[in-house]
Amino acid sequence: MPLLLPQLPTGPTYGILAEFATPADLYHACERVRDAGFTRWDAHTPFPVHGLEGAMGLRRSPLPWIVLGTGLTGAALGFVLQWWVHATAYPLVISGKPYFAWPAMIPITFELGVLFAALGAVLGMLGLNRLPMHHHPLFKSKVFERVTDDAFFISIESWDPQFDQSATGKLLESLGARRVELLECE
């Protein structure tokens, strides 16, 4: 399963990288790129920009459902473990309570539920984001180093059906890009 392998275009060209000056410029450009019908593209920012997912047309993340699933699993595991140990495996009368004393099982059930939910959130997020991915064609661009500082980018990949080496670049320039760059895969 190519979970951790980068999903990259085949062929020599990766795509086009365009730099924008401000979040506002990026936002409006993203709306236009989305409306133009591109699918294999992305925007890059040093921090999450408010509302940009909507401008890009992204659907809501399925992560909360993953977390709910793992959390319930963890809680169930914790509860079953305690029940089994205290009611079946080695029953002992402790402080005069019945073997299956469910109130006393709540703390650990809750904690394991939270633990598994948190692991689900982090591993789920990494999985959905295809991280770690230490190598990516975008890192070849010198200006891209500023993506974690103060620069904003749009990248359109070459395997998008509407991609065209010259037309796409011109489109991005017309949308207000400060600089447009063609990137190779290797």
């Binding site: 979040p23 809501r60 948190a118 230490h134 974690t148």
Partner: protein, 486 residues
């Protein structure tokens, strides 16, 4: 027109107060935070690190001697089977809670001011949990069978006692430590990528790059990332409440007067946040000056932190009053004796230190002048932590040393090794914190950038923008806005 900090603070009317001063742009934030990490180690850092490391050494010696000779080197006896060890455990766990509150709960309440302090506060949580976990670990006596605490199948067919609050602690604090590390690390990924992209040497690039996981700021990635962050915040909030509640249950499920009282769970949580915020104040006062981050961690941030300290301190005071009233109302002579003994018995000195530090002195924070005065904040933060240490000591020791039968009464005196473990734990904490500020960006840079006015893609923020947004987007008669529309 530049506003002084003082003017900025008194602003009940403006919608979005200015959080970051001197109107920096994104790049100058990056420089301000990454600079200290990349530059040479300042002398001041060594001034803190060396004593901390020395105390850590003291801890090593004390713990080694403890393992070799046994628990008898501490002042524990019958009836006082718990004293400094569990006091320190509860003390450090309590301190850790403020970090999670700042990261998670303030995030859920949309308090943007948290972005300047949450990274350091989360790190503080992790180190505090490390210090805390150490104490139950070393106090068991036979440390070499400590693995019996975990439900591992074994040849004896034996299992841990899941009904015991001591075991709930093992699970709760381990989960808390794990989730805190996860939350801290997830928040750190974009900033590690920032350090990677700025790295001048190959070694730094590899080190930061490895842990940055190849983050490239992709919005599709931010999308899932923000969802994960929200989920982790939503999980960490009940986790914080549950962990210190479970710690309080170490005492509350017992039969001892002064220990067995139903208000302990929320009372302990409030006390934990109280002492934790005091520790955050201590650390932030030092760090913002040392690293010249006064424009990012401003007096406004201290104002808010001091207010939270006041609120949680009041909750602690409320719990004291309730317990005091109920000890009389119960008509139970043992309950009443427990409280009179606290105030007037052999440990009265500890009790009155506790009351003056926790209830009386924080009242100074009603006054804005005190909330925004660095010397007062620093002194008060230490006073509060002293008070909260004594609170746990008073609860544990006074209830143990004189319970039901006078013939079983005793007294506890700490030995040099009790004190060494306590001081040594501070060594562990501050050593880890010094290493943290030296090698990791201590402010959540990407989060701080989001609170700058320029980060808003819809133009300048402020009331005018909000009104325009209001005119554009609100639903008409009887209809709700479509989901997710912006």
């Amino acid at each position: 027109m530049a506003q002084t900090e003082a003017e900025l603070l008194d602003n009940p009317v403006a919608g979005s107060p200015t959080l970051i001063l001197r109107s920096p742009d994104f790049h100058s934030i990056t420089e301000a935070v990454a600079g200290p990490v990349e530059g040479r180690t300042p002398i001041g850092w060594w001034l803190f690190f060396i004593p901390a490391f020395a105390l850590l050494g003291l801890l090593g010696i004390a713990v080694s001697w403890l393992f070799w000779e046994g628990i008898g080197i501490w002042g524990l006896n019958v009836p006082v089977g718990w004293a400094y060890d569990i006091t320190n455990f509860v003390f450090w766990i309590g301190i850790g809670h403020a970090g999670t509150l700042i990261s998670a709960i303030l995030f859920l309440f949309r308090q943007k001011w948290r972005t300047s302090i949450n990274r350091a506060a989360e790190a503080m949580t992790i180190f505090a949990v490390m210090c805390a976990l150490m104490f139950p670990g070393i106090h068991v006596g036979r440390v070499w069978v400590a693995y019996w605490m975990f439900p591992l199948p074994n040849q004896m067919g034996m299992w841990p006692n899941f009904r015991s609050p001591l075991l709930w602690d093992v699970f709760a604090v381990s989960v808390y430590g794990t989730v805190s590390v996860l939350f801290w690390y997830v928040g750190l990924i974009p900033d590690l990528a920032m350090m990677r992209d700025r790295a001048k040497t190959r070694a730094r690039k590899l080190a930061y790059g490895f842990f940055a996981l190849g983050w490239r700021g992709s919005v599709r990635q931010w999308h899932h990332y923000e969802s994960a962050y929200l989920v982790l915040a939503a999980l960490a909030t009940p986790l914080v409440l549950s962990v210190h509640s479970i710690v309080s249950m170490d005492f509350a499920v017992s039969l001892l007067p002064g220990w067995h009282t139903t208000i302990f769970p929320p009372y302990f949580v409030a006390g934990a946040i109280f002492s934790g915020f005091a520790m955050v104040l201590t650390l932030m006062v030092i760090c913002r000056t040392a690293f010249r981050l006064e424009h990012i961690v401003t007096l406004r941030h201290f104002d808010y932190m001091a207010k939270i300290t006041l609120v949680t301190g009041s909750m602690v005071g409320f719990a004291y009053a309730t317990e005091f009233f109920t000890s009389w109302y119960s008509g139970n002579p043992y309950e009443m004796f427990a409280f009179l003994n606290r105030a007037l018995g052999p440990y009265a000195w500890a009790y009155w230190i506790m009351v003056s530090c926790n209830v009386i002195s924080p009242q100074v924070f009603w006054f804005k002048k005190a909330r925004t005065s660095i010397p007062i904040l620093f002194v008060m933060s230490i006073v509060i932590n002293i008070g909260m240490w004594f609170e746990r000591f008073v609860i544990i020791t006074t209830s143990l040393h004189r319970d039901f039968l006078p013939s079983a009464w005793g007294h506890f005196t700490p030995t040099i090794w009790d004190v060494s473990c306590l001081l040594g734990s501070f060594g562990l904490f501050f050593t880890m914190f010094c290493l943290f500020v030296r090698f990791v960006p201590m402010v959540a840079t990407s989060e701080v950038k989001t609170v700058l006015p320029q980060a808003d893609p819809h133009g300048r923020s402020g009331p005018e923008r909000e009104i325009q947004a209001h005119r554009g987007k609100l639903p008409g008669r009887g209809e709700l806005a479509p989901e997710g529309a912006s």
